[in-house]
Amino acid sequence: MPMIELIPDGKSIGWMQAPPQWIFTHTVRFIGVVRVVIKDGEGFILIRKGKTLFYYFRHGRIELKGHAALDYFNSQSTIEFNLCKYTPEEFAQALKICNVEDQVPDNTAGSALPAPDKSPFAVVSTPFPEPAPVAEEPGAQRVPRPVVARPKTSVHTERDPVIPPQIILDEKDIRIIGQIKKLNGIVAISVFDEEQNIILMGDVEIEPLLKIARSLLSTTDKITPLLEWGSFVHMTLQIPEGNIIIAPYNDYYLCLLTTRTINIGHIRRILRDLQQDGEHV
């Protein structure tokens, strides 16, 4: 039986589309398997806290393992993947199936594989192409999938996975954003900053949405210094077709595109809770 069918399923955190480098820069706290789908093939990456332990890809009868699989992942501008969290038992089982002997985990990110000749993890600062939304598979039991996720990194050419000094979004963030996306009436949700979109869940074009979001942000930047009303919670622009909401989220901002029928009160409570949680971290 192919290896991919033997490893434990794990608990799905969410489907995403992103450049392969994103996986390596956003999994320093993640323990589990990243299930990868490329065209008709599928594969996985075993990761323990940023340390990549095994790569596997299968297309028909062709199986790629280790660097061959990694090189194939890196040859893609974007890949579709599902982060699946493992319990220690599941992780041990997966290691056994993959015949990987992992040493005591350390906090430094790196690969258990010998460094390849090329720089497979090189991250470039040029804009990543916007991947097309993925067509939903009928009946598929998946959590909503983000369309774009980009690493916030500058030019790197190191051999090891590039871990930015400050991790943008961790597993908890992705789970929270996924949960918000699942609420009735949420069409899309983006985490963004002044420079870029960081993650987007929902089938919308990101640039027009970000243009509006930044426009709203510009308004709040102008008015906030003039008011002594406490911290900014959200700004919502309502048009007949729906709402666009921006709100601070840690060091970034959320942008929500919603239907007109959404319960604004519910969204307000969520945004307030998120901000209060952020203050307590």
Binding site: L216, K222, L227, G230, S231, V233, I239
Partner: protein, 115 residues
């Protein structure tokens, strides 16, 4: 007459001010309680009004239905009245927003008839 209508908002719990403003920034009428509409607040109201209209125009020339700006203490709601006039409600954020938006829609024609 306009003041009387605006007073319907002020009697809603936690509402601090109700303001009718023209697109050129001129305040047509206002009624307030426990808040001062100073130059800063006037600038805020004008900025929200003009920026929101511009932003909505970028959305395929969408008509602006409502704008909400919330801070941890207070809340501002802006709604269009007629072509060049807007109604702004400022309230504590403990206010019942549903009640305000309902009253805004309910009293829109009456306010417009006073302009």
């Amino acid at each position: 007459m306009l003041k009387e209508i605006l007073n319907k908002f002020l009697i809603i719990k936690d509402v601090l001010a109700a303001v009718v403003i023209e697109e050129n920034g001129e305040i047509i009428e206002s009624i307030k309680s426990g808040i001062v509409i100073d130059k800063n607040l006037e600038d805020v109201i004008s900025t929200v009004m003009l920026d929101s209209k511009t932003t909505a125009a970028h959305l395929g020339n969408a008509a602006l239905s409502m704008v909400f700006v919330e801070y941890s203490d207070n809340f501002l709601i802006l709604g269009p009245l007629a072509e060049e006039f807007f109604l702004i409600i400022i309230a504590k954020n403990s206010v019942n927003i549903g009640q305000i938006t309902y009253e805004m829609k309910k009293n829109q024609d009456a306010i417009v008839s006073c302009l």
